[in-house]
């Protein structure tokens, strides 16, 4: 049973923002509820007010155009994303990420906005969006602002969202016609698993088909918040990605970007060796997935 609460269904963004501000710590915004209701069942995370935002028009739907790129409503579910033809074709790394979330049942309820706003370092939707250079469109009582996803997280489970703000949409620019993307989730078993480590890679190469011209790497569960591995990214620029030794050599740099600590799921030492092994491996997978004309 879920403890008693008062239920609000705001019809507009402004109404949602006003309720969020009014109820503060006694209220919680809910989209798919896969995170919120699961925690409420456990008896912690109790709130007097639930503010259900998932029917708000501005948060719906997947829009795409070559020039504008992709725009995902915050209330779009993971399953809608994994089944979308354009996303499958052009943003495959995002599909690779969200496909690993929970189960089909969880993906039918869980939303991309909820995944981002939970701000868990292990969230499987965040890394792929980080390497695709996504931005967050945020609405508050004072109006709208756009924040790059890489600046959205401010601390463990903390985001830039103010008391009166909600996430409305996630925008993703059109990737290069030819790029390689890969998501690798490391867990102990294959099903229903929270990532011990999540690695996302996006890369582009020059006309010779092997010299790295763009590299973006995101790491989940490697720091208190999802991060970009900027030193490692810089190392790869201009390098020959067809040379296995060159790709592997990044393992000596990766720990400058992330130094995971102990948790009940795995100790830091183990995670550090995983990073050294798996970051270059994921780069190789992404290179292998490069779409060539």
């Amino acid at each position: 049973m879920i403890a008693r609460f008062d239920y609000h269904v705001p019809a507009s963004l402004d109404e949602a923002c006003a309720l969020k501000k009014e109820y503060g710590n006694t209220g919680i915004v809910v989209a798919g509820g896969s995170d919120v209701y699961a925690k409420m069942h456990l008896g912690d995370h109790l709130y007097d007010h639930v503010i259900d935002i998932k029917k708000i028009e501005d948060m719906q739907g997947i829009r795409w155009s070559e020039t504008e790129g992709l725009s995902l409503g915050a209330a779009v579910t993971h399953h809608e994303i994994e089944r979308h033809p354009v996303i499958k074709e052009r943003y495959d790394v995002l599909v690779q990420g969200v496909r690993t979330i929970g189960s089909l049942q969880v993906r039918n309820r869980g939303t991309i906005g909820g995944n981002i706003c939970t701000a868990a370092p292990s969230a499987d939707g965040i890394g792929p969006l980080l390497v695709l250079d996504a931005s967050c469109v945020i609405h508050g009582l004072g109006g709208e602002r756009t924040v790059p996803l890489k600046d959205f997280f401010t601390g463990p489970k903390q985001t830039v969202l103010a008391d009166d703000e909600v996430l409305v949409r996630v925008t993703v620019p059109t990737p290069a016609p030819s790029y390689g993307g890969a998501y690798f989730k490391y867990g102990r078993r294959n099903a229903m698993e929270i990532a011990l480590l999540g690695i996302s890679v996006y890369l582009e190469v020059a006309d010779d088909g092997k010299t790295c011209s763009a590299m973006r790497i995101a790491l989940g569960t490697s720091a208190p918040i999802p991060i970009r591995a900027q030193k490692t990214e810089a190392y790869y620029i201009g390098k020959d990605l067809s040379d296995r030794q060159v790709v592997e050599a990044a393992s000596s740099i990766i720990l400058e970007d992330a130094s995971p600590r102990n948790s009940w799921r795995a100790d830091g030492e183990f995670r550090r060796s995983l990073l050294k092994l798996l970051v270059p491996r994921t780069v190789r997978t992404a290179y292998g997935a490069l779409t060539r004309e």
Binding site: Y7, H41, V106
Partner: protein, 158 residues
């Protein structure tokens, strides 16, 4: 509001009911409507025993409020057979011995139905992946997956 009137179709029956807003869809189905096919295994989204279809999509009814299903069409295991004629998946689960204690079975069959409706005739590997949210403590899954695959093939051949 603490209570709300909902308008809901469950297995071809139309209901208008007032429910407490903190009531889960699972509690509503089991306790208010007496449909006890969907089971409560964990209340955390982990086991899938509570799976029902909401507008054709499999969801964990323990993680959804009854008020969130307002205006939706719900299909539960009780609504699958046509009179005495079992759904091909139900018949196959019996014929192939894919049921042991049976606790997971309603959820398994509802997820399987949604998968066959959406994906047609998926590979065994795809079925395994798509059914990862349904736990079974008895069968070891092999029979379940084979039964779903066999039914998918039989239905696709029709």
């Amino acid at each position: 509001m603490f209570k709300k009137e909902i308008n809901i179709m469950v297995n071809n029956e139309h209901y208008v009911r007032e429910v407490a807003v903190n009531r889960t869809l699972l509690e509503f189905l089991r306790e208010d409507l007496g449909l006890t096919g969907a089971k409560e295994g964990c209340n955390e989204g982990e086991c899938g025993a509570c799976t029902v279809l909401v507008d054709g999509k499999p969801v964990n009814s323990c993680l959804m409020l009854a008020v969130e299903a307002d205006g939706s069409y719900i299909l539960t295991i009780e609504g699958l057979a046509k009179g005495d004629l079992l759904h091909p998946l139900q018949q196959a689960f019996i014929d192939e011995g894919a049921v042991q204690c049976g606790f997971c079975t309603p959820g398994m069959i509802m997820t399987a139905k949604a998968i066959l409706d959406e994906y047609g005739n998926p590979s065994e590997k795809e079925i395994r992946k798509l059914m990862e949210g349904n736990l079974c403590r008895c069968t070891g899954y092999t029979r379940v997956i084979k039964t779903v695959k066999k039914t998918a093939e039989a239905l696709a051949a029709k």
